[in-house]
């Protein structure tokens, strides 16, 4: 895959972080291990390390985001970076500036790292192909393609609870067609040798040849949940009703909503995850979301250490020890 060459340098180290596809198990494990070392930082009174001191990180969000953006910003702050956050939906590109011009203008401000969310699939690759050597790009979600840091924080959460991926059955439930999170999760789970990755969705929310991603496909929630260790619920976007993809939220909940009763079909110690923001009563029942099998809020806090890990690996520092000496 050509994505190898652009994301990794000649020594196989991360140069950009664009997609899980094209990475390898070693790097994924290194991210998870590095994140472990940062989780302790997050628990300290003084939550800062100097790994990104003197570096400038620009957060470019062409699409709205709450948790991804704020956890990226927190991660950057805790790594002591200088931060420039631009809400691009209300700035230059609206005035007609091209994406490339926006990029080059920011580069002129000596940015070292870009964190980008954009509505076009492939936009992170596009940025990475056009930045100056030495400048890194982190994909915070490109269209329907990938959202690799989200997938890594999900892997971190799973590993935290389940340790060994090779014995796990994981079900991803919901709008696979439009989900960049699902694509990244599927690649990550497969790279980590997960025993079985299932996707569960009505046919209108499944892309063509879904199996080619390396998953088994279920169109029936109850069958799909049978015996799984991990359930990842995806957010159902309201606009899906308008596109005639689904009849109604009510019917979706009836067929694909995760209820206490359906949760019983999974393994007794199964965990329930959701990348957020969740629609209570549409894809997930409140009692499941707030129940003791839910790890949804943990995902959010792990997001900070995972993003710290990825950024520190990109600047060439794997973990806290070397970081503290800097």
């Amino acid at each position: 895959m050509p994505s190898n060459s652009i994301q990794l340098d000649d020594n196989g180290k991360l140069r950009h972080f664009l997609s899980i596809e094209g990475l390898n198990q070693t790097i994924l494990n290194e991210i998870l291990d590095t994140a472990d070392s940062f989780t302790s930082v997050t628990d300290r009174t003084i939550k800062k390390v100097p790994i990104l001191r003197g570096k400038t990180v620009a957060n470019l969000f062409f699409e709205a985001s709450t948790r991804t953006r704020s956890t990226f910003e927190l991660a950057e702050q805790r790594l002591s970076a200088d931060i420039l956050s631009l809400n691009v939906t209300t700035s230059a590109t609206v005035k007609g500036e091209s994406l490339l011009d926006t990029l080059q203008n920011l580069e002129a401000m000596q940015i070292d790292m870009f964190v980008i969310r954009h509505q076009d699939s492939g936009s992170a690759h596009f940025f990475a192909q056009h930045v100056r050597p030495g400048v890194s790009v982190l994909n915070a979600g490109d269209g329907q393609h990938e959202h690799p840091t989200q997938a890594m924080l999900d892997m971190y959460t799973i590993r935290h609870h389940k340790q060994d991926f090779s014995s796990l059955r994981v079900a991803i439930v919901g709008d696979i067609l439009h989900s960049r999170v699902a694509r990244s999760q599927i690649h990550a789970l497969n790279l980590l040798n997960t025993a079985e990755v299932r996707v569960i969705a009505p046919r209108t929310l499944l892309p063509m040849d879904t199996e080619s991603l390396g998953v088994s496909v279920y169109e029936d929630l109850e069958q799909g949940l049978e015996g799984v260790d991990v359930i990842i619920m995806l957010r159902l976007q309201r606009e899906r009703m308008r596109g005639a993809l689904l009849p109604s939220e009510k019917e979706y909940f009836r067929e694909f909503g995760l209820t206490q009763e359906r949760l019983q079909l999974a393994k007794p110690d199964a965990i329930v995850m959701h990348p957020g923001p969740a629609n209570r009563g549409v894809e997930i029942e409140s009692s499941v979301m707030d129940g003791n099998q839910s790890v949804i809020l943990q995902q959010v806090s792990f997001g900070i250490s995972v993003r710290m890990a990825v950024m520190s690996m990109i600047v060439g520092q794997s973990g806290l020890q070397s970081g503290s000496d800097a």
């Binding site: 091209s98 699939s121 492939g122 690759h125 490109d142 269209g143 329907q144 063509m208 991603l213």
Partner: protein, 425 residues
Amino acid sequence: MNLQIKNGQVVNPLESTVIKTDLFLQDGKIAGLGSAPKSFKAEQTIDAADHWVLPGLIDCQARLRDPGEPEKANIESETKAAIENGITSLCIPPDTQPPIDNSATVELIHHRNEMFGHQAQVYPIGALTRGLGGEQLSNMASLRANGCIAFSNAKVPLANNLVQRRAMDYAGGQHSLVIIQPLDHDLLANGCAHEGAVATRLGLPAIPEAAETAALAKDIELVAQTGARTHFGQLSCARSVDMVRRAKAKGLPITADCAIHQLFLTDHDIGNFDSNMFTIPPLRSQYDRDALREGVADGTIDCLCSDHQPHEVDAKLKPFPSAEPGISGLDTLLPLALRLVEEGVLPLAELIAKLTLNPTTIMGLPGGRMGIDEVADLIIVDPDSHWVCSASSFVSKGKNTPFEGWDFHGSLTHTLVAGNVVYKR
């Protein structure tokens, strides 16, 4: 001017032959094949030993972006590109700005070609409906009188079936050719890549086959209903080839073409979101590509075209879904055609017929034939020369090519229009 081309391997698409012989050109026409006409005295002689001599290519679908989009290209730049790549006639679809729906635009195009053009024939295809709006019929008879060779709604499908039926009836009643690019805009939606494993993996909004085939099925039924002679342009799906094959077998007055890049590229070539691979219709699967090649070989697909869509650099310097679709194809039409011969899709003369004889027959144009009294639009090709494709050496103003770095065999040495050498390498 009397001109003799001697010792060339003369390709005759009508007879499907390649014969070493001499050609004698007089008064802009082919005056002798093999033997000189009486009292012929050559003023100029070209030795074409070990070279192929072919009719000039007819590109049945090329956008010159003129009038309306000078940042992309214009008649001057693109007719030069055509001539220097062996294309002596260009059929241009009506989606210029303004569209070719009135005689003034037709005259403007002809005028610009006379003033600034480089000797290539430019044949406008008229709009089927006014402003391509799909509501009112265009003044087809006037447009035809002014030189429109056929009528089409270009990439803008007619949303209203009744209007389409009437447009086809009206055009058919005038014995005009209707050209349709089958495309259902509802199914096309915001898609930018073939619906399959590649689009699924890259998260690119997908274009199902039905965006083409559902429209084509309806269009074929309307041909059956109206009897209007109809040419289907830029087919991309295996199922479309099959549908056209069956409709032809039933005797419907149907012909078809496909863009030559569809015979080489598939959705896998999108690779890492390469926006030069973004086309509409999209690059399809290997299966579709193979079926299109079969359709070319068995005659289901009558013509090949460049589907030339030159762009300024910025149009492609965007993330894949936001880039503009299309390929700058004039510079690669001939080499890709020769490569099809090399790859055994069809013998030389039969393949060249799809770029000469067939389009002229379907569109009712001069040229495309190698016979006495035919117009002497000819090209000479050195089959042994090797070269590497590079956008930087494209003659077209559009450098948007997916064929950068491809190895090609065979290159043009001369282009003649009406018996005169207008380009020599």
